[in-house]
């Protein structure tokens, strides 16, 4: 097990190097001159442009810029934004916010997704199954910004339950509404996954055996059916957490969440190389770790899976 984890982490190194190189190159190759954009519709003098290029090392060849960035990582210096802030402090202020938002969304989607999926799967073909199915179809078909605006209108403007946007310090209570929005799309997916999986498991021999042994529904459903149905669901939730950690640009914009998505979007628009690459590096790292965790969880859920290498 430990060996397995070690090799998986070793694999992460070339993946990280490759992605940072690619991303850095893409930012480098983006059209336009970020220095000119800093001046809006005005045109700076040649001397000004030159001085600023030098300051941000933009006049160096690509590979030098990349090596400078890599070298900086080892001493904890990820460069600075155009507003003079160290990128590392931007990371420190945005990732926790997005993490909290993602966790909240994850709790909501897990609880409702698995709960409703189980209910739906156990009562296959019943009234509740059909209603839940219709409900999940509705959620899947709505674009996220529609859900966001409708919920914002209903829950904030009309009912006043939540603040319309996220306030200072991004308190949990303000993150609730964007988390619900983020969760809605995934809830529907989880319901459908869980339902199929539950139906399949419920028809298996060991479930019939369990009932035959005289076990109660209260024991068979959680221990025998649910646990064995969770593998596809856990895979989905894991990747979903990864997606949410990368930041929900649209949702963060609508609710003014000072998180990863919003910040990264602005950085891309301003061609802020160091910021973009640092963010993406952290994201790749998170993805790799999450995937590893999911793989390890399989073994916990299904006794037939063992990691021996």
């Amino acid at each position: 097990m430990a060996r397995y984890i070690f090799f998986r982490l070793l694999q992460a190194i070339p993946v990280l190097l490759g992605t940072t190189l690619l991303i850095y190159y893409m930012v480098f190759a983006m059209p336009g001159d970020p220095i000119l954009a800093l001046f809006g519709d005005k045109t700076p003098t040649a001397a000004q442009i030159e001085a600023l290029r030098e300051q941000y090392h933009l006049n160096e060849p690509f590979i030098m810029q990349y090596l400078r960035f890599l070298g900086g990582i080892f001493v904890g210096d990820l460069g600075t934004t155009y507003s003079g802030q160290p990128v590392i402090s931007v990371l420190q202020s945005t990732f926790p916010v997005t993490l909290r938002l993602a966790l909240l969304a994850l709790i909501i989607e897990t609880v409702f997704g698995i709960g409703l999926g189980l209910l739906s799967g156990l009562r296959k073909g019943g009234a509740s199954d059909n209603i839940i199915l219709a409900f999940s179809l509705l959620l899947i078909s709505l674009p996220i910004f529609v859900i966001a605006f409708v919920l914002q209108y209903l829950l904030s403007f009309q009912l006043g339950i939540f603040r319309a946007t996220v306030g200072e310090g991004a308190p949990w209570s303000d993150l609730m509404l964007p988390a619900i929005v983020l969760a809605t799309a995934s809830v529907a997916q989880i319901i459908r996954l869980a339902r199929t999986s539950v139906i399949e498991t419920a028809g298996q021999d060991f479930v019939r055996t369990a009932y035959g042994k005289g076990l109660s529904r209260g024991r068979v459903i959680p221990v025998h059916i649910l646990r064995n149905s969770l593998i596809p669901v856990v895979t989905y939730i894991g990747t979903d957490l990864g997606v949410m950690m990368v930041g929900a640009t649209v949702t963060e914009g609508i609710f003014n969440v000072p998180g990863v998505g919003r910040t990264l979007f602005q950085a891309i628009r301003q061609s802020e190389g160091p910021t973009v690459v640092s963010f993406v590096t952290v994201m790749v790292l998170l993805y790799l770790i999450l995937n590893l965790l999911i793989d390890l969880l399989y073994a916990v859920l299904d006794p037939r899976i063992r990691y021996v290498k």
Binding site: D33, G40, R262
Partner: protein, 539 residues
């Protein structure tokens, strides 16, 4: 019905979950904003994260600009109409608009207690004018004797006479120099600011109506908190206790906050709400002209656009555009058709400068002029207008090119460039082979500022590389005039020539669209489209 019940149940459950979570959170529950300030009149307003550190001479965008304006004040400041009023200066005198003597009020201090002296101005300006200081607003000092845009050189035109007096010598007479002095590039800096400008930009110390609310007042990408600067004694004294500027990346979020009373003042309405925000907000809606002029430029070097042929074609194009129709249908009256090259909020503006007929829609005349140009050399190709696709310009470019198609019977289309930075690169490189979108926002409320940087030969933002010695001479004469009225006459005469040459086709003036919550009063937007924060009172 069942579906509904489920929905409500989910929300209730989720809400109770939130309460539990916030109860045990350690880092998220810091609601200092509402807790500490109870009973104090703190105004909240929208803004955006400054693109640079908060150094006045390095800030040239509105995100940082509105904060700089609140933290600093200059020799003069502007009233709501854009007229200069003495602020730090007790008097500014000149005989010839070239040699100025400035006497300061002797009771002015920075928020740290340091006195504002002649040296605070002279040192700050001298530093910002150097190339090595890398200040975005460097060009504002170009008229002061000794300035050199290419290399470091001392501003020999600045001389400290005493703590409260200094003199300014310019390279040539500049009739609107006193007017310019209200711009934020000309504010004083405390001692030590220029030694470590980066650190100063994080924790600026100013002499304006507000100061930072402590060391951690600026939460990057979230907000900045200012409180009233009790040491400020001038015409801009704050009538509230503080100002919190909340950074939004999306105006829809800001507008949502305004409507739910979480935000007091907003100066940007999301485009999706432009058509109905005046109904939504009623008397709390603001829609007034701004010092922003928009146009598109057809450079001389394009085929068919040089010499007499080019003149005729430009006039034809200008008269083929039905501006009122576009401002009404596309912009819901949040733009007003242009009648000149400046803006109606600028003192000295006139809607009927001689020659301004050329911006009125006249399809017959347009066709006639186009035919005359065809007689010189027949038209070929497609007329294209380049724009940056990330700025919401597509709709009006399409409308304008459609009108050109219909009226002139030519092929016309937009030429989008994906992002602003790439667009500016193409334009400034001087190789762009189409017409392109241009615009200007006034730095200070003077006609000259809308004309010289854009149309004088070799000027910094003369993107079309336009050159006409007559215009240059009139602009220069205007600057040399000893009073602003005479100067404005010259500037208007220069505009008359611009109307025949049309180096840019005037389109419209932007208006500022905003609103305020029902918790505040006395909200006035100034000439530069920003709310006058210091005058706002809380109910």
């Amino acid at each position: 019905m069942k579906l509904n019940r489920f929905g409500v149940g989910a929300i209730a459950l989720a809400a109770s979950g939130a309460l539990v979570l916030s109860g045990c959170s350690t880092n998220g529950g810091d609601n200092a904003g509402s807790g500490d300030n109870s009973g104090k009149a703190i105004i909240t307003a929208n803004g955006s994260e400054p693109e640079n550190g908060l150094v006045p001479t390095n800030t040239n965008e509105t995100g940082g600009g509105r904060i700089i304006n609140s933290l600093f004040t200059g020799l003069v400041s502007y009233d709501a109409k854009g007229a200069p009023q003495l602020d730090v200066a007790k008097s500014i005198t000149t005989e010839d608009s070239q040699h100025f003597t400035v006497v300061l009020n002797d009771d002015r201090e920075f928020s740290n207690g340091e006195k504002v002296t002649a040296k605070s101005f002279v040192d700050a300006w001298n530093w910002a004018a150097q190339v090595s200081s890398k200040q975005n607003n460097q060009s504002f000092f170009e008229d002061i004797e000794g300035f050199n845009a290419e290399a470091d050189s001392e501003l020999t035109g600045l001389k400290v006479v005493s703590d409260t007096e200094f003199t300014i010598t310019l390279n040539q007479p500049v009739s609107d120099f006193e007017l310019r002095l209200g711009y934020s590039a000309y504010v004083p800096l405390p001692e030590g600011a220029i030694k470590d400008a980066a650190a100063f930009g994080e924790h600026p110390i100013g002499n304006g109506p507000y100061k930072l609310a402590g060391d951690k007042a600026w939460t990057h990408k979230e907000n900045i908190k200012l409180v009233k600067n009790e040491k400020y004694k001038g015409p801009r004294e704050a009538k509230n206790d503080g100002l919190t500027i909340v950074f939004y990346s999306d105006p829809t979020a800001a507008y949502a906050d305004l409507r739910s009373n979480n935000l007091d003042v907003l100066d940007q309405i999301p485009s999706s709400d432009l058509a109905k925000f005046q109904d939504d907000l009623g008397k709390r809606a603001i829609n007034q002209p701004a010092a922003i002029f928009q146009s598109f430029t057809i450079p001389e070097r394009l085929e068919h656009f040089s010499g007499e042929e080019g003149k005729l074609r430009r006039a034809a194009i200008s008269q083929a555009i039905n501006r009122p129709q576009i401002t009404k249908t596309i912009f819901s009256e949040t733009r007003t058709p242009a009648h000149d090259f400046t803006s109606p909020v600028i003192p000295g503006y006139s809607a009927d400068v001689e020659g301004s007929d050329v911006v009125n829609f006249n399809a017959d005349k347009a066709k006639e002029l186009w035919a005359q140009a065809d007689a010189i050399k027949p038209w070929s190709g497609t007329f294209q207008i380049a724009y940056n696709a990330d700025g919401g310009h597509q709709s009006w470019v399409d409308a304008v090119t459609n009108q050109l198609k219909n009226v002139l019977g030519i092929d016309a289309s937009g030429a989008p460039v994906p992002v602003f930075s790439a667009f500016r690169q193409e334009v400034t490189s001087g190789n762009i082979q189409t017409a392109f979108r241009t615009g200007w926002q006034g730095d200070y409320p003077g006609l000259y500022n809308f004309l010289a940087p854009l149309y004088a030969t070799g000027a910094s933002s003369n993107d079309g590389k336009y050159s006409n010695p007559e215009v240059d001479a009139l602009l220069k004469d205007g600057l040399a005039a000893t009073n602003i009225d005479d100067a404005n006459k010259k500037f208007q005469a220069a505009q008359t020539i611009l109307f025949t040459d049309l180096p840019a086709i005037p389109l419209w003036y932007s208006t500022v669209n905003g609103g305020f919550s029902d918790k505040v009063d006395n909200v006035v937007f100034s000439w530069n489209s920003q709310p006058i924060y210091e005058g706002i009172t809380k109910k």
